[in-house]
Symmetry: C2
Subunit: 291 residues, 2 copies
Amino acid sequence: GPRILALLNQKGGVGKTTTTVNLGAALVRRGKRVLLIDLDPQAHLTLHVGVDPDSVEHTVYDLLTRPELGAGEVVQTISEQMSLLPAEVNLAGVETELATLAAVGKAQRILADKVGLMLAGQADGGAVSSAAPDAQSLAPHSYDFVLIDCPPSLGLLTINALALANEVLVPMQAHFLALQGLSKLLETVSLVKRSVNPRLLVTGIIPCMFEGQTVLAGEVMADLKTFFDAARSMDVPWRNAVVLEPAVRRNIKLAECPSFGKTIFDYAPDSNGAKDYLALAEALLGMEEGK
Amino acid sequence: GPRILALLNQKGGVGKTTTTVNLGAALVRRGKRVLLIDLDPQAHLTLHVGVDPDSVEHTVYDLLTRPELGAGEVVQTISEQMSLLPAEVNLAGVETELATLAAVGKAQRILADKVGLMLAGQADGGAVSSAAPDAQSLAPHSYDFVLIDCPPSLGLLTINALALANEVLVPMQAHFLALQGLSKLLETVSLVKRSVNPRLLVTGIIPCMFEGQTVLAGEVMADLKTFFDAARSMDVPWRNAVVLEPAVRRNIKLAECPSFGKTIFDYAPDSNGAKDYLALAEALLGMEEGK
Ligand SMILES: Nc1ncnc2c1ncn2[C@@H]1O[C@H](COP(=O)(O)OP(=O)(O)OP(=O)(O)O)[C@@H](O)[C@H]1O
Ligand SMILES: Nc1ncnc2c1ncn2[C@@H]1O[C@H](COP(=O)(O)OP(=O)(O)OP(=O)(O)O)[C@@H](O)[C@H]1O
Ligand SMILES: [Mg+2]
Ligand SMILES: [Mg+2]
């Protein structure tokens, strides 16, 4: 089956969305079929790939709150190799809406069950698609990669992502305050692994918006390396996690392309942003899942 | 009474905490007495000023969940001119904990009532302070400024901040995705003004991590200016809002000082970060509240 990666970090503005879009686009350039899932009420991933969250018929919000709706009815075709499950603003209320189900432990696997069904080859996701009808033929749901963009929180939406994923990637800024949240993040991964998804592993950290020439970045990277080296002998979901290379350098092109609804490869294919995400995709392809 | 400003933006990582700390410290350098309130479960403001959120006796979490506890018992003295109401990780659960009170509309003014009581001269905040006992003599609760650091969300904690504040400042990155969230933010301010706090006004936007030489920054700033010029004739809480100057430039020193528990003025007083926040404080002092 496909590699399913959750892009996780409860700290805001660290590059989760930018990485989901551009790592996904880089994998497409390497010939892979990629499904992107937007779980953020801000719908920035959706906007970033040129889709208007207010004008799509079904979104992840509908998928989570309407039992009869299947993932196949929500899929939007972005290109021949890239599909999207879009988000919308109403996702902000979904934790409240699902509070009762959550209280009895029945709200954490909704995404995993429905997307799992679609991936397992149920081409209609449980019902005939009324989204882009040609999505069914263009996007046969045999994805090589599924990338899930998480909101900046460790709540129900992120838990749903972790229930579906088999790997976790952590985009991170090499700043002091970013290190503070890492243990809580890993604690959450452990909790979900024990109680919901035994397959879950942390594949690695992706340093984003990296300012390599600063002392601070060097210190944070050294701290991270020490932390993960120490984990090699422990029975923890991050025992084989690495700090991926290369770090994604700060590059204004990456901040500009969302306003055109484009990935960096369509907007500025010769930029450092494009180079770094392509190299990251290579690094990821070189790593066998769970090794 | 003091000017009470909420630092608001549901987008993560835009500089709310960095601005709360360093604008507060700049105001102290201009002779003002400043109270900082940390409303973020990440407790980054608390860490930033050198306080360990796990080792303080009472935090904002206790203030919100224990009816008998007064604000005076939670105040921590940072310096002669600066005090703090610290946060802690447990704040993450406070929306759930207060869900019933919230459902009957009784959870939005908890902070406003208790801090309001303290500011109104109740030196013991309703009970004898057991926090830093000398806080009572050092920090007579006659603050000139109260700055409230909000989490990256528009939930109950942020609503509590808006119920207490009389002014709103919006730290923002001059990036495309940042503009997307602005209307939702202003919508929330309007809602709170109508239903909870009629005094609420948006004083301005603070451009943070500013990359002035980029086309993108110039375009976003132009968009903001157009937006606020158009508001001048409307009956909206941001009708007199401005884009504050100077923008705070990207400066690695600002990212380094949290790791030392220091403000930029103690860590790197000659840096651009210090200059920009001092100039911002001047600009803020020059603006009469609500004008
Ligand atoms: N390498 C980079 N260089 C320059 N700008 C970047 C880079 N990566 C991301 N950005 C910009 O920084 C901002 C934050 O990035 P992004 O939205 O991807 O973070 P996020 O973690 O998804 O945020 P959130 O927590 O709000 O979902 C965006 O405006 C984005 O365009
Ligand atoms: N002008 C600046 N130059 C360089 N780094 C900065 C600047 N302002 C803030 N930072 C760094 O950027 C990161 C995000 O800033 P900060 O934590 O203040 O944002 P925030 O809006 O409070 O985030 P959150 O939404 O998580 O509360 C931090 O690591 C901080 O140290
Ligand atoms: Mg995002
Ligand atoms: Mg903050």
